[in-house]
C-alpha cells in the first residue's frame, strides 16, 4: 500500500495525485486519441455519444453530486443548448466556433435565472420544480411555432470550423474528445478552488456552510449556471450527432435518464459521470447482444430494454449505492491492502428518521 506524505500545501491542489496517476490518465488519453486508427465508424459514433453524455453528466454532477441540489431537469438545459446552437447556426449564420460558446452562455444564463428561483427550495420541492421545468421547456419549444420549428423539429447544419468541414466520424470524434477533455479539466479545476469547496460544503451541510461565511444563495445559483453551461455545450454537440432535433428528444424521460446515469456511475465523483455515460450509451448495444441468447417472446417484447435498465438500477441502489466508481474503488482497495481487506471499511452509517416537520 502506498503511503502519501504531505510535503507542501500545493500537494492538495495538484491536478494529479502523483506520477503514477498522471501516467495512467495520460495513457488513457493517448488510447482515446488513437482510437480512430483501430475502431470503425459505428464505434467511433458510439464513443462520441459517450463523450457528449459525459459532458452533460459532468454538468449534472456539479449540480447534484457536488452542490447537492437534485435536479430532474437537466435535459431542459440540453434542449435549450441544442436549440440555441441550431438556431444561431442556421438562421443567423453565426460561425460554428462562436455559436457553440454563445449557445452554452445562453443556456448558462437561463440556468442562472432558474437557479436564482430554485435556490430557495430543497429536496423534493427542488426535484419536482426542476422536473416541471423539463416538462414546461419541452412544451414551450413544441409550441414555439416557426421559431423553434414546433413539434416538426429543426434540421441541424454540418460543422464547419474556419472552412474545415467536420463531416467524418473520426473528425467529429476528435472534436467531441477535445471538448470532453476540456470539460473534465474544468470540473477538476473547479473542485480544487474556493468555489468548488464552497459547493461541497453546501452539499454536506447548508447550515454550517452558511455559518462559516459561504454565500449559499450565490453558490447555489452558480452551480446551476455551471451545470447549464455544460448542458448547453452537450446540447450543441448532441444536435450535430442527431442531425435533426425535436422537442421530444429532450423530454422528461431524458432528464431522468441523465440523473440515473450519474447515480449508476457513482454520485459525487468525476469518474462517476464518465462511467455512467459509458453505461447508458453502451447498454442498448450490450442488451442487443444479450437478447440473441434469450427466448424470442421476452426478447421481442418492447419492454425488455427498460425492464433491464430498471432492474440494473434497482440492483445498484440496493447493493452498490456508490455506483460503478464505488465498486472500482473497493476493488482497488482490496488489492491495495491485499490480505487485510475489511468489508467494514466501506460500511455506511445507519441512521434513523427524525423528521424536520414539527407536526
Amino acid at each position: 500500500m502506498r503511503v502519501l506524505f504531505r510535503k507542501s500545501y500545493k500537494q492538495d491542489i495538484r491536478l494529479f495525485r502523483d506520477r503514477t496517476q498522471a501516467f495512467w490518465y495520460l495513457l488513457f488519453l493517448c488510447i482515446a486519441l488513437a482510437a480512430p486508427l483501430f475502431l470503425d465508424g459505428y464505434f467511433l459514433d458510439e464513443l462520441s455519444f459517450v463523450y457528449i453524455y459525459a459532458i452533460a453528466g459532468l454538468g449534472l454532477m456539479i449540480l447534484t453530486g457536488f452542490s447537492g441540489q437534485v435536479s430532474f431537469g437537466q435535459a431542459a438545459f440540453v434542449a435549450i443548448g441544442a436549440y440555441a446552437h441550431t438556431i444561431l447556426l442556421s438562421r443567423y449564420g453565426v460561425p460554428w466556433i462562436l455559436s457553440l460558446p454563445l449557445a452554452a452562455l445562453i443556456t448558462g444564463l437561463v440556468g442562472l435565472a432558474i437557479g436564482r428561483i430554485c435556490g430557495r427550495m430543497h429536496g423534493l420541492y427542488l426535484a419536482i420544480a426542476t422536473l416541471s421545468i423539463a416538462i414546461v421547456t419541452e412544451r414551450l419549444i413544441g409550441g414555439g411555432g416557426d421559431f423553434t420549428g414546433g413539434h416538426r423539429g429543426l434540421p441541424v447544419p454540418g460543422i464547419d470550423i474556419f472552412g474545415i468541414a467536420i463531416d467524418q466520424s473520426w473528425k467529429t470524434y476528435l472534436l467531441n474528445l477535445a471538448l470532453f477533455v476540456g470539460a473534465i479539466l474544468m470540473t477538476r479545476n473547479l473542485l480544487r478552488t474556493r468555489s468548488g469547496r464552497a459547493l461541497i460544503a453546501i452539499r454536506d451541510s447548508e447550515v454550517s456552510a452558511r455559518s462559516l461565511g459561504t454565500n449559499v444563495a450565490f453558490y447555489k445559483a452558480y452551480a446551476f449556471f455551471l451545470s447549464a453551461v455544460f448542458a448547453g455545450l452537450a446540447g450543441g454537440l448532441l444536435a450535430h450527432a442527431f442531425y435533426y432535433i425535436t422537442p421530444e428528444t429532450f423530454g422528461m424521460g431524458e432528464s431522468i435518464r441523465l440523473l440515473l446515469m450519474i447515480v449508476v456511475g457513482g454520485i459525487g465523483t468525476i469518474h462517476g459521470a464518465i462511467f455512467g455515460a459509458f453505461f447508458i450509451v453502451l447498454l442498448p448495444t450490450v442488451l442487443s447482444w444479450v437478447k440473441v441468447l434469450l427466448p424470442g417472446a421476452i426478447a421481442t417484447s418492447g419492454g425488455f430494454d427498460s425492464l433491464a435498465f430498471g432492474m440494473i438500477l434497482l440492483g445498484f441502489i440496493l447493493f452498490e449505492p456508490d455506483g460503478l466508481y464505488g465498486r472500482w474503488v473497493k476493488i482497488h482497495h482490496y488489492f491495495n491492502v491485499f490480505p487485510m481487506y475489511k468489508r467494514r471499511s466501506f460500511q455506511r452509517q445507519k441512521t434513523f428518521l427524525k423528521t424536520e416537520r414539527l407536526k
Partner: protein, 293 residues
C-alpha cells in the same frame, strides 16, 4: 376568455373538480408514505397504472363482476404495496432521501416495463363503475365523475378521522416523528410502515380504477402521478388536507388554462405550482418550520 358561456364554465369546473379528485387520491397515497417515513414514492403513478391493469385483468379478461373485480384489485394492490416496502424499500431505512428518489424512479421504470410485457403497450378500455350521466339544466356530468368526487371526500375524511382517533393512526403519527423513539415505545415500526405502503397502493389502485374508464388503461397513464406531485407540493407536501386542496386547485384551473392556451396544453399544472412556490416556498399549508442542524 371569449365564447365561454356560464354553463360551459360550470361544466369545465365540474370536470376539473372530478379530475382534481383523482389527482388527490394519488397525492394522498404519496403524502401518507411521506408523512410516515419521509420517503417519497415516485412510483405512485405506476402503482395507479398497475391497479388499473390488474382491474382490467380481473374485470375484462376474466369477466368477473365489476365490484368483485374491484375488491380483488384492491386486495392485490394492498399486498403488492406491503411487499414493495417489506422486500425493497425497507432496506434503505435511514439512507439519504435522494437514494429513495432513485430507487422509486427505477421501480417505476421497471413496473412500466413489466406492465407492458404482461398486458401490452396499447390502450385498453375499462368499464366505468356506474354508467350514465347526471343532467342538471344544461350541465352534464358523468356519474363516474360524481363517484370520483364522493370517493375522494370519503377517503380524505376517513383518513382524517383515522389519524385523529384510531390507535393505529396515532401510532403512525408517532412513527413519522421519530422512528427510534416510536420503536422504544413498542410500536411495531416495520409492520406499520409496510401497512402504510399497502394503504398508499390501495388508494393508487382506487384512482386507477376511476381514471381507467376516462383516459383508457395504458402504460403511460402513470405520468399523471407527476401532476399529483405538483398538487401535493402546492398544498405543502406532507399534509393531507393540503394535498387535497392543491390537487383540487390544479384540477380546476387546468381545463381553463388548456382552453385559453391550446398550444401549451398540459403545462398549466406546473405553472401554477411555480407561482405558488414563488410566493410560498413551502406550499400553502407549510409543513417544514425550521431546518435543524
Amino acid at each position: 376568455m371569449t365564447g365561454l358561456s356560464f354553463a360551459d364554465a360550470i361544466q369545465l369546473l365540474l370536470v376539473g373538480l372530478s379530475q382534481g379528485c383523482l389527482y388527490s387520491l394519488i397525492a394522498i397515497g404519496l403524502v401518507l408514505v411521506y408523512k410516515a417515513t419521509e420517503q417519497v414514492n415516485f412510483a405512485q403513478g405506476e402503482f395507479m397504472m398497475l391497479g388499473a391493469f390488474v382491474g382490467y385483468q380481473f374485470i375484462v379478461l376474466w369477466g368477473l363482476p365489476y365490484w368483485l373485480g374491484a375488491l380483488l384489485t384492491l386486495v392485490f394492490m394492498g399486498g403488492f404495496g406491503y411487499g414493495v416496502d417489506a422486500l425493497v424499500v425497507r432496506r434503505l431505512t435511514g439512507q439519504p432521501v435522494f437514494t429513495v428518489f432513485i430507487l422509486t424512479l427505477a421501480l417505476g421504470i421497471a413496473l412500466r416495463a413489466v406492465a407492458g410485457i404482461v398486458w401490452g403497450f396499447g390502450n385498453y378500455s375499462l368499464p366505468a363503475p356506474v354508467e350514465g350521466n347526471l343532467t342538471l339544466g344544461s350541465v352534464i356530468i358523468g356519474w363516474s365523475s360524481v363517484l370520483a368526487i364522493l370517493v375522494t371526500a370519503i377517503v380524505a375524511s376517513g383518513l382524517y378521522a383515522f389519524f385523529r382517533y384510531a390507535r393505529q393512526g396515532v401510532a403512525m403519527q408517532a412513527l413519522s416523528l421519530n422512528q427510534l423513539a416510536a420503536f422504544y415505545m413498542g410500536i411495531p415500526v416495520k409492520r406499520l410502515t409496510s401497512s402504510i405502503w399497502a394503504m398508499s397502493a390501495i388508494f393508487g389502485a382506487i384512482a386507477g380504477l376511476l381514471l381507467g374508464p376516462v383516459t383508457l388503461v395504458s402504460t403511460q397513464m402513470g405520468f399523471v402521478g407527476f401532476k399529483a406531485f405538483a398538487g401535493a407540493i402546492v398544498g405543502g407536501f406532507g399534509s393531507i388536507p393540503g394535498a387535497v386542496l392543491g390537487c383540487l386547485l390544479i384540477g380546476v384551473t387546468e381545463p381553463f388554462f388548456d382552453i385559453m392556451f391550446p398550444t401549451f396544453k398540459g403545462i398549466g399544472a406546473y405553472l401554477i405550482m411555480f407561482v405558488v412556490l414563488l410566493i410560498r416556498p413551502e406550499g400553502l399549508l407549510a409543513q417544514i418550520y425550521a431546518k435543524k442542524v
